[in-house]
Each structure stands twice: as C-alpha cells, then as structure tokens.
C-alpha cells in the first residue's frame, strides 16, 4: 500500500511537472550571473526585462511582453524575476502571460544591493527595468512599465542596422 502511495505521488508530481513541460526550463540566477547573461547577448540585439512579483506594475505588464515576444520571435528576449516566490506561481504566471517559451531566469539569491550593483551601479532597485542592448553592446535603459512603441522602434532600428 505504501509503495502504491509512493508510486501514485510520484506519478501525480510527474503529471504536474508534465503540465509545465511546454515551458522552457527556467534558469536559476545567482550573484555573479549577470556577466553570463550579458555574454549571451554578444553580437546580436537583445532585450533583458527585469521584474518581480512584489511589483504590481511588473505583473500587470507581463501579458504585453508575451504579445511582444510572439510578435518578435527571432529577437532574443530574456526575463529576470527577482523575488523568491513558490515555483508554481512563477510557472503559472509566465504561462498565463504567454511567456513560457521566453528565456526566463529567476533569482534564487535574495536580490540585494550587491546583485543590483552588478547590473547597474546606479540602480536603486525600482522595478521593472528593461535593457535594450544592440549588436554592438550599446545599452538603453527603460525604467518602469515600457511604452512598446519605443521598444518596437528600437527593434526596427536594430534590424536596419543589421
């Protein structure tokens, strides 16, 4: 009976995980990982969007980022979530926002001033922030919820520059 219970539990958990297998794996983000993240953008335009569950405007804006990701499937879009919340919440929120296929990262370290400093020595912690990084590595920072016209104009420009 005990074995059956274990088996049933394992099966249920597998089913639960299976429900999320459509999503790309979410990458844990730790102190020191920023350089690795930036390395992935080398030589091609990319957007890094940093958000958190404790930030209402961030969560409200996610579906718009989902639509943007679907409209720009070839653009490298990375999302970094900075609050430590239960994993199933992150997964569900990303699926609901149609961002499960995006390149998602979640901070597993408490996202303190050291981690912010790695990203931007002048960043005081406001969220969301979005970095538009062109192929040459030039970065434009957008604070707060974005005006997608600005983002789309930037995408068009980077395509022309290519």
């Amino acid at each position: 009976m005990s074995m059956l219970r274990k088996l049933a539990s394992a099966f249920c958990l597998l089913l639960l995980l299976g429900g999320n297998t459509f999503a790309k794996p979410i990458t844990p983000y730790r102190s020191g990982d920023w350089a690795k993240l930036i390395q992935q953008t080398k030589g091609r335009p990319a957007i890094i969007h940093i958000w958190g569950f404790s930030c209402g405007p961030c969560v409200a804006e996610l579906p718009a980022w989902g639509s943007f990701a679907q409209a720009q499937p070839k653009l490298k879009l990375m999302l970094l979530e900075v609050d430590q919340v239960p994993e199933d919440m992150t997964v569900k929120t990303l699926i609901d926002a149609k961002l499960s296929e995006a390149d998602n990262h979640v901070s597993v370290d408490y996202f303190d001033e050291y981690m912010r400093y790695e990203i931007d020595p002048k960043w005081q912690g406001e969220l969301p922030i979005t970095l538009l990084i062109d192929a040459q590595g030039n970065t434009r920072k957008l604070r707060g919820s974005v005006d997608f016209k600005i983002v789309n104009d930037w995408v068009s420009k980077t395509k022309k520059d290519d």
Binding site: L7, G52, G56, D109
Partner: protein
Amino acid sequence: MKLTVRLARTLYLFTAFTMSIVLLLAVQDNGLAQAERADHVDSHRAHDHGQISASMTSMSGSKGSCQDQTLNCARSATPAFAPDGSLWLVWSGGGAISASKSTDLGKSFESAVEIARHDSFLDTGPDARPSVVIDKDYRIAIAYAFFKDKQWNAQANITTSLDKGKSFGLVHSIVNDPASQRFPSLALTPEGKLFAIWIDKRLVALAKKQGKPAEGGSIAYAWSNNMGETFGTEQIAEPSSCECCRIAVGLSKASLPVVVYRANFNGTTRDHASQLFEAPDQPGQPRQIANDNWVTNSCPHHGPAMTISEPGTLHTAWFTQGSTRSGTFYARSVDNGQHYSTPMPLGSTDKLSGRPYLLAVDRSIWLVWKNFDGKQASIWLQRSTDDGQTWTDPKQIAESVGYTDHPLLVSHKQHVYLSWLTAAKGYQLLEIGN
C-alpha cells in the same frame, strides 16, 4: 499466481524507481525547487565577499547557508523601547516574524518568540518590515504583512501582548476587506489609542471588477482602543497612492496622525505627499512635499521618513528619481505641511544614498541614510540642534559588508540610538547622541 504477484511487484518497483529518477532529474533541470532557493539564499555573499563568509560562519556556527528565522538571518528588524528600558526587536526572516527582548541595549537577546510563520509567503520585499509599538502600560502591538494567495494579494496582520511580551495573542487581520493590503505602520497616541495605516487595494480591485483601468493603491487607516485586539471602521485617507512603498507615520502636537507617503499625483507622478489629520477620523488634504516630477509607472520600493519635533515642525526625507531632482532629500515644514523648505540633498547618487530615517528629541533632529559603494554599506549622520534650520556636515557612523537592513533610529529617555541589522556584524545598536 505467486509469480504474477512477484512480477507485478517487480514492475511496480521498477516503475517507481524509474519515475523517481525522472522526477529528480526534472526537478534538478528546472533548478528552482524551493529547497534550492533556500540553500542559495546567501550563497552569493559567501562566494563573492570573502570577509562576510568568514563573519557569517562565526556568527551562525554550523548552520551553513543563512535561511533560518534567527536574528542572524533576518532581512529586517524593527526596534522599540519598553517603559522599563528593555529593547524589543521584531524581525522578519526564515519565513517567520519573531520577537525578542534585550536588557543590555542589544548586546544580547532572550530566546525569541515566533509571532507568525508564513514561509515563502511572508512579505520580505525591499521596503517591507514589521512595525512595533509599546505603550506606557507595557502592552505590545506588532503588525506585518504576508501574501495570502497565489495572486500575491497581501494581508496586514497584528498581534498584541498584554503581559509585557510574555505571551502574544492570536495573529489576526487588521482589515476586514478581502482585497490586498500591505505595508502596515503603527503609531500610538499618549492616551494609548493605536493608529494603523496601510496601502489598500480595495478601490483598485473594485475598479478592475467594473472593467475600469486602475493602478496603484490607496492609503487606509483604522483605530484601536485595545492595542490592536479589535479595530474600528477601516477608512480611506487618500484614494490614490503608490502601491509599493511603506508609509511614514507620526503624531502632531495635538496627538493626531501625520503621514508621509509616495503619492500618485494625476495618476502619473510618484512624488511625496504629507497628510495631517484634523481629527481622529478626519484626514486633511494631501499636500505635495516637493515638485520632483517623478513620472513613472514603477515600484520604487523606497518609502519616506518623517518625524515631528517639539515645536511641531514636520521633518521629512525621501528618495526620488524625478526630472526636477533625483536622489535623497530632506525638507521641513513649520506650517503643518502647507509649505516646505527647499529640498536639501543627502549623500550622492553615485553612492546610491537612500533609505533615510529621522528622529526628533525636543528641537534636536537626527537624520541618517545608507550609502552603498558596491563593496560595503555605510551609514551617514547629520544632526541639527535648531529644529532643522542648520545641519552638521555628514559623518560616517557605521559600515558593514554583506546584507544590511535599512538604518533606523530609536530613542529612550533622551538617548538616541542607530538601530541597524547587518549580516556580517549582527544587530547593531549604537548610541549616537543624547
């Protein structure tokens, strides 16, 4: 028959084993299991800042990564002095709110009491912290917030001790409304009436239900005549505010609440406002403290500070990234918030100066803030002895590597202390004036 049963058992064992392996691999692949998050809570500091690693090890013994609910691992700690001079500290860490008493000014603490446990649903955001007040009869009230559901709606809770902290009553919600409430702050009148104020989302929730666009939150409050065991009617002081910054609260000379918060002027501009109550249930008009013009739809996670001095002057300090000014600033008002002095910059944006805190004793004002240079945090002090008209030069009074909380100020019998929680040096209570 026996062979069939054996075969079935073998098949069960094989399937269970295989599924367990697959399950383990899947969990490892995803890499975000809660246990892993906890294991790595402080790993970056151990890897990147060697000094801290050593200090933390010495502080936390064989614990390894800092994830328990002890003061060593806390994210925020709020102090309050009891009438007998004991220092009470209430902290948030390891998924719990805990409290303890020190009779030697913070050098050592008695065994901690767990006030509440919410694990990963405890609000430990950058501007969240428990609030604590102690009345003249040594009754203690502690308020904090946690996330009550997976839509990340919060609830503001409170508990009361009527026996000098020997025991605490059941934790319960301050608020009856089912919407989200966050960042509760408490203040106590000399007559022993408890004032609670918080960020409230009921109007936003209602607007959304009606299909209307709605952002931010509201400033809401309630009074209690029994140190938080029960509250009177919840009321909205200001319908529109920023939703992610704590509120600063104090009392006027008439023992009426004075609050300073990040407002939401015209639905676009997250500048600060002060609001002085004209009667216990009559909040006055919010008034803009400075035209910083921070037009943003973001969460700054950076609330203001305020104190009222003996002459009734309102002193406040805040952080902004407006187009008019950017950084951390101080200003004062001698006419109940109708006009404010020209904002005085604190520290520098290069040093990430922020998290200001103020305390007044008679006409003396203490003002601290935190700098961060990428390697360590430092606390800076300016003092005024003429009710904020002139100030001493900024002076560094503390520093620490590793995780550090916001600096707070607390006083007892004219003695003023810096209260600062650090991971590397532990809890610091430094006397900075009398």
